[in-house]
Symmetry: C2
Subunit: 712 residues, 2 copies
């Protein structure tokens, strides 16, 4: 059964009608709608307000408006039906009027209407959006005051997606775009001034012509509670039934994911036009509702990742620390279900074995799975061995005692003699024979964030000099992003450590701000630096199994700390170009990995389909910033990130700087990097078409690993 999707009706009632009774509500609900949106007050109230406003002569004085009373309101409290009603605030108020009397009267009316709606048990009131660009603070302050005065109600700000005249430039007959982001911009100011109130959301009006894709994506990241669709924007199909254009369908498919209320407007009017009838039948009118319900049933099926992550959208999870903590069997089991990851691993081991070939002396090739868990990679390796026709002997090295027990059982039942189960931290492992192919799955959402580099460095000493490690390399990637939802969930907890911790999160209500994801850094295995710098004492030397079958050797856990871990320090500062303005709440991290040869894994949205389509094991990682940074059009965001380490732990630090590129009319711009000093030559004025102007920067997050780190 598909999840519930709420569709509502905004009836075209004359606001002079008498109050809507529960029968009225009932009839709409029995007509198949889930909710009804109703103006809270009617023309009686409006007339009274007008009379009072006109009676006050002093232009400096805001007249006092007392709350609406019967018959000025459209409905009475009814707990049975309250859940089916969204209140609509009077459309004639103007909270951001430049006339203080109009603004003052409007603010009173808003409070009264919210208060009455709350009394009647409603949860939501739809409030008209700002009417101008330049009085946003006053508008926001009125909402804020109303929210404070009425504690349980939620405000839905009714907004257009973009100003009229802003249409998708890829569509036909498009005039020059005005300012596609101006409405979003105003909304962003309103919610910022209201301090990201969780009781403030958006009711978005679908326009007849859609705005550019950047605008559609932007709104998708916002808290949309309602989608308003006028029946007038429907087309007629050949049979005369109302349908939406392809473009509108795609937009609805996207927005339906966040399950807003969809509210149909102008249904009677549009039906009259469509059917050329003054009194269309209920059946005729229901065509729009039926169509929306139909669209919901033909929603494109969710991707593998969406299915896997259902219920986890935008939910912050602490990254696993498998080195510090022993995982539960259930956790292993979830990851073992990935349809793609283990296929790729099997392909990689197959490739390595095929290229290497069987040992000429008939000895099996030594494969070690370090961090074997419940053994999925052992199974991969055995299958690959069989397919490649290269016999192997496999070590399964595991430090989790419970997983070790499971592995012992599995060896008994399945694998028998050509697998040896070793209970140890791989960094302390002393095998009797050196290893030809070492396979691991220690990667986290940001690649190295579960300490894969340090673990593999610690076991590299048991690899033969011509040995192969799978994965051969992995790299971390990142991009600045906007997510009011994640920011407010972090903010609401109001703890310094949460602002300084990277989280694993299945992203949904997120808008990537830059054009391009960039690579942060890379790790390669075997580690070239360790290769060049390890000096093994003679007593620790291990013989290769292929050379001397009888010898035994011990290896002490003397790496990586003997030569420090500085070689796993990383730092990068990357510059991202931003075309459309937005507000940055953090950045998203991904990884790519070369398992072997051309067998790769990727979680980057732009390469996952090419490299490892439908792989679900990793959600992205989210690095929050404590204060949102606004960037205008034609901006640059520079993210600096460090992977730091001491002998006990590894952690990330990050900071962000923002710039805007401003056109420079004449010469005299100054983009030099170096600072002119007393000894430098006189300053030169370099002519350039734009100037890079510094805008803001964040503090350094998580300094010294104070708030979050991975223990070695």
């Amino acid at each position: 059964m598909s999840p519930l999707y709420y569709v509502g009706l905004q009836p075209e009632l004359s606001t002079l009608d008498t109050a809507i009774d529960s029968d009225g509500i009932l009839s709409v609900v029995t007509d198949g709608y889930d909710v009804l949106s109703v103006p809270i007050t009617n023309l009686h109230f409006r007339s009274r307000v007008s009379r009072i406003s006109q009676s006050v002569s002093d232009p400096a004085i805001v007249p006092h408006i007392s709350p609406p009373i019967y018959p000025e309101v459209n409905f009475a409290p009814n707990s049975t039906y309250a859940q089916h009603v969204l209140g609509i605030c009077a459309k004639w108020i103007e909270l951001d009027s430049t006339d203080p009397r109009i603004a003052g009267v409007s603010a009173q009316i808003l409070k009264h209407e919210l208060s009455y709606a709350s009394f009647c048990g409603l949860s939501y009131v739809i409030v008209p959006g700002p009417t101008r660009r330049n009085n946003v603070a006053l508008y926001a302050e009125s909402l804020n005051a109303a929210l404070a005065a009425v504690p349980y109600i939620n405000i839905i700000v009714h907004l257009a997606m973009a100003e009229t005249g802003v249409e998708d430039p890829s569509g036909p007959d498009v005039p020059a775009p005005v300012d596609a982001m101006s409405i979003w911009d105003i909304w962003n100011s309103v919610r910022t001034i209201c301090d990201y109130s969780s009781r403030l959301s958006v009711g978005l009006q679908l326009p007849p012509k859609l705005p550019p894709q950047t605008v559609v994506s932007r709104w998708f990241a916002e808290p949309i509670t309602v989608l308003f669709i006028s029946a007038n924007i429907f087309l007629s199909n050949p049979k005369g039934y109302p349908v939406l254009s392809k473009a509108h369908q795609f937009l609805l498919f996207k927005y339906m994911k966040i399950k807003p209320y969809t509210i149909l407007q102008d249904v009677r009017e549009a039906t009259q036009i469509r059917t050329s009838s003054k009194l269309p039948s209920k059946q005729d009118e229901s065509a729009y509702l039926i169509y929306i319900r139909h669209l919901h049933t033909i929603l494109p099926s969710p991707t593998a990742v969406e299915k896997f992550g259902r219920g986890y959208q935008d939910y912050l999870q602490n990254p696993l620390q498998p080195l510090r903590d022993n995982l539960e069997s259930g956790t292993y089991e979830v990851f073992e279900k990935d349809p793609v990851k283990y296929a790729q691993y099997e392909k990689a081991v197959f490739g390595a074995l095929s290229e290497r070939g069987p040992n000429p002396n008939g000895q099996p090739v030594i494969v070690a799975v370090v961090g074997a868990g419940r053994g999925p990679l052992i199974a991969c390796a055995l299958r690959a061995s069989e397919r490649a026709n290269v016999p192997i002997f496999a070590y399964a090295v595991e430090k989790n005692p419970n997983a070790y027990t499971y592995l012992l059982q599995r060896k008994e039942l399945q694998w028998q003699s050509n697998v040896e189960i070793v209970f140890t931290d791989m960094r302390s492992w002393s095998p009797t024979h050196k290893v030809d192919i070492m396979v691991s799955e220690l990667l986290g959402s940001f690649g190295d964030n579960e300490l894969s580099p340090e673990c593999l460095d610690g076991v590299q000493r048991v690899l033969k000099s011509n040995g192969i490690m799978i994965p051969q390399s992995y790299s971390s990637h990142f991009i600045p992003a906007m997510s009011p939802k994640i920011f407010s969930s972090i903010k609401s907890q109001n703890k310094e450590d949460i602002m300084n911790t990277p989280y694993v999160v299945m992203l949904q209500a997120v808008d990537l701000l830059a054009m391009e994801i960039k690579q942060a850094w890379e790790f390669r295995h075997p580690c070239p630096y360790l290769r060049a710098n390890s000096q093994w004492p003679a007593s620790h030397r291990i013989n290769d199994l292929s050379q001397n079958d009888d010898s035994t050797a011990t290896v002490k856990r003397d790496t990586p700390f003997d030569i420090g871990n500085e070689h796993n320090y990383r730092h990068v500062t990357a510059r991202f170009s931003i075309e459309s303005r937005g507000v940055m709440h953090g950045f998203v991290g991904y990884f790519e990995s070369v398992l072997y040869g051309d067998v790769e894994l990727s979680t980057r949205p732009d390469t996952i389909n090419k490299k490892s389509k439908d792989m679900v094991s990793w959600f992205p990682i989210w690095f929050p910033i404590s204060t949102p940074l606004y960037v205008p059009d034609d901006a640059e965001i520079e993210i600096s990130i460090w992977r730091k380490t001491d002998n006990r732990k590894v952690w990330y630090e990050w900071s962000v700087e923002t710039f805007v590129l401003v056109p420079v009319p004449g010469p005299g711009s100054d983009n030099r990097d170096s600072i002119a000093s007393a000894s430098a030559s006189p300053a030169r004025a370099i002519s350039s078409p734009t100037k890079r102007v510094r805008l803001g920067c964040s503090k350094l997050h998580n300094p010294g690993g104070k708030y979050s780190s991975m223990l070695l």
Copy 2:
């Protein structure tokens, strides 16, 4: 005795010299200097670092540098002299190098040197500033890591005031200015990334030619611990003694107020040139020190306000709430000392009495001082009465029981029968006769912030219909400002309420960002709205003393609440033009008041000298914002502020929006105020030379008076 002023010497020691011993430090101190700045390490250390750096072949690897050892350091620990030494970090390090090896080695050296300096008991280490504009995050991260690694040391970042080529355009022979704020801009990023660490400050190098005044003022608001002055920038006076130019003297006079260490450099070299001697005498060398000491003795005397506020610079005080709290005698006494305020009040009462003249029937004019305190305004009124030759009868109305007692004594000893002392809240006062002239001193730093409007509204009913109130009006004024010092003192307390409370503060380390202070709003007395709307029940009517001497009457406390307090609500959104970029931490509030006719009070720095020079009773008020807002050159700051009220309290709310004006190359700019809606006409493209681009906004501060309010 003038307060201590520290002058230091940076000796031109060859860094290959052997370590400085305590005798060396002693000799400098006995030469009249207070401190000595000394490089922590010498060329031995530098040679070792070079050798190690060159020995590592892998370009990806940062070599490990062990701490400096004897004889690589220039001094040994000596607790007696540690307080006289400022350490200088190696000048050849480059923390922001784009070569990761140089940056990595530099970061290690910084930590080692800080650590050694701390071990030796030093409190300050001077660190070279960034060398480039575009690697600021890396530079700041290194400082931050070093501060974290060495817990008690303070870092002084050595910076030029501006890049070479940036000179005061009002001076002679000036090339085109480069970018006067670029060095400040970098510093601002460094300290922002370091999260306003209290252990990070600036050591400013005085340039031979001074930068524009905006730059001088900007640095004055920063935490300057050291002023470096090279002896080479001194001129010779006719007698051959070294002196500074007038411009430099003025700058020093300004900066000496914040008492930095002044450190002289290149003294021997400059003396050699001046005296044409290879081995100048100690006496010749001391001329620079003597001159700086001399300058300090001829510092222009502090203004009346500076004297009054000594010790309170940039110190946050909660505004008085004299309505809620009863003041101490000492508090009254401090304010009574104002040399200007009471002279202005006396002038105002004199003006009112003179204009009014004596009553024709010989009855005295009724004067009421409401909120009489210890009686200074009664004294003013009596003096004014005598000078104007208009007999008065004065009421002294006071609700503070202790002040009342004091007033009774004063009546007994000084005033006798023509003064009556009344113990009541003025809002409940029921005099036997109505009042001709009502005098009050209820103003706070922002004018109305001690509830003068509400108190005076409450007593206005006892004023005759042709009565006069002194003050006749007052207005609030404001301007956005930068103050890292105030911001970090608020931030360090990390409490939500402190970020949402206006403070009274004697401003010093503050830079006003806008060109112009703007008026927020005004209050007039008697209140015209109350005049027009009060309906007095017959039983409450009071007779004028002049009309009927025998009648008595009672007045109940039925204002202001009977008709609400909405008429004292105020709101303004003001737009401020910003020429030079900066970071806004809050805004400063002042007031002006018309006492009577042309007798005024002002705390606005641009009008105080004209209206009430040397008045000291009020420091400005500071409205903080919780997150600093950066603005680039050619920006606009829009501040919205509300004075809100219910029947129990009055409070302010405020929010800030920022914009930048960007030149628009062609047509297509879009500065329309209104939002195009479906019904509006098609969007027009209005040609305009600049575009106003929204940059950021603050949240709404103190919503609902949650954090700070004045109780009625």
